[in-house]
Amino acid sequence: MRRKLSSRVGWNTVGLVVALFMVFPVYWMIATAFKSDSQINGFTPSWFPTQLTLAHFRAALATPGFWSDVKNSLIVVSTTVAIALALSFFAAVALAKYRFSGRKLIIVLVIGIQMLPQTGLLIPLYVVLDRYHEVEKLSGLVLVYLTFALPFCVWTLRGFMIGIPKELEEAAMVDGASRLGAFVRILLPLLGPGLVATSVFAFITSWNEYIFANTLLGAGHTQTITLLLADMTGGERAIDWGAVMALSTLISIPVVIFFLLVQRRIAFGLTAGAVRG
């Protein structure tokens, strides 16, 4: 008994050390964002911010282009989420509820695309979008993000839909509800968590995306917020680490909040129910 207890204490200590190491970079980002410049640039780093300041957050917000980049990111992200949700919803209904010719092809495509390295599609997507004059436009970027968000959304929603017993819908229709009524009152509430999970996934992937935004928006004046952050350390001039960390913190906040909400369901979607988390 005593031995068991002491080994438990040992494992707990290891666990806490692991957590500390994992989380340290996140802590360091936030701590740096609140430190004064003299604390950041000193040759002896201080482990804790002693003179808290909001100066770096003010500097980050005052970076040229900040507000327009935030606006661009929000436009791209919200459009992507809305379209992805609508399209994947109907595709998932079709895949989960009906058997039709070409069904297998769609499943192969959905999974296949999800497996493709996204950089592998950079060239064809660029050329196609250029052909339709969608380069250096936010609408072109939305199209690209849809290509990536759709497979996951279709797949995850399909998983949720299969979990809903057919009898529920049928019972409602026997009780006199129309097909639409049964759908709105019975299916939709049960699908709620799935819809939330897929929208968050679409939100996070498009908010975080870098390479396509960089390639498609390129040298144009239109930028997204990830490009702004990447550019802050790109040049040859001295880097204002306080402002970089403040902007990093600001960009991470919405992602972290949304992610905490649905983390389990995203892991579930990626492994397609092989693990019940």
Binding site: M22, I123, A230, M245, T271
Partner: protein
């Protein structure tokens, strides 16, 4: 609606194959159509030593990253099964927090921590008397650059693996483990004979996903090493593709490189795809 989904997903692939058989440079981009040159792009790649070096480097990079990610992820998952509930909660929150850090943010935090002027890494290593790391430049050699990229990538990838593996571990039946203990099996033997068979499907999926992600890593190597410091001596596949195809506006060649890359990934991940299609066909 179904047609729309197929169109969005299938069109780029068809286009990719078409492009790879064409001469498609800046002139063709303005004209909006290319000139067919058969397999010319492919023979150009295969006779380019830079391609073969890049391929070898990327395979090594993938092996190291997947190995580390899976190894550390498994150790953390096993650890999670042994700690008290409150410690498990703390570790899980830490993992989820790390998991949610956007890749570009991760890059910026790591370059701040490892910068040679006043990065915390050099300071900590010097303080711990591991050596004199005063103004040590971690980005001076290719090997050291990739040590940094690997640390960043593995740090970001471990949470998903650890959390998923822990969920899989908790599905291992208790009775089996106890029966094995009664039969006198030690911990290592129980892990091999009881635990591993139960979690094998999940392990395979995780390995497949990690292989795909690491083989095609772009954002982290490109930005952490720096856009200006990419050269044929430190290319990874995605970066090679980006620079040869987009940077040099040689889209036909870029498409051919993409296809080679996609084929390699497809072969490596065939297990995952087959398993998923089976699930989808139920």
């Amino acid at each position: 609606m179904v047609v729309a989904v197929v169109a969005v997903l299938g069109y780029p692939i068809v286009n990719l194959v078409e492009l790879s058989l064409q001469q498609y440079g800046l002139f063709q981009l303005l004209q909006h159509h290319g000139v067919y040159i058969g397999l010319g792009n492919f023979s150009q790649i295969f006779s380019d030593p830079i391609f073969w070096h890049t391929l070898l480097r990327t395979v090594l990079f993938t092996l190291v990253n997947v190995g580390l990610t899976m190894g550390i992820g498994m150790l953390i998952a096993l650890l999670l099964a042994r700690v008290s509930t409150w410690v498990r909660l703390i570790v899980t929150v830490a993992l989820v927090l790390v998991w949610s850090v956007p890749p570009v943010v991760g890059v910026q935090v790591w370059s701040w921590m490892t910068n040679n002027q006043n990065g915390i890494l050099n300071y900590a290593l010097t303080q711990l008397h591991i050596g004199n790391f005063f103004e040590h430049n971690w980005y001076a050699s290719t090997l050291s650059q990739y040590a940094m990229v690997t640390t960043l990538l593995v740090w970001g990838a471990v949470p998903f693996v650890a959390i998923t593996l822990y969920a899989a571990l908790s599905q291992v039946p208790h009775e089996l483990v106890e029966a094995a203990q009664l039969d006198g099996a030690n911990a290592v033997r129980i892990f091999k004979a009881v635990t591993v068979p139960v979690i094998t499907p999940v392990l395979l999926i995780l390995v497949s996903l990690s292989v795909i992600w690491d083989f095609s890593a772009f954002t982290q190597p490109f930005l952490l090493i720096g856009a200006g410091h990419q050269n044929p001596g430190n290319y990874l596949m995605s970066v090679y593709l980006f620079i040869e195809g987009y940077g040099e506006t040689n889209f036909g060649l870029g498409a051919a490189i993409s296809i080679v890359m996609l084929v390699i990934v497809a072969v490596l991940s065939i297990f995952y795809v087959r398993a998923m299609i089976r699930v989808g066909d139920e």
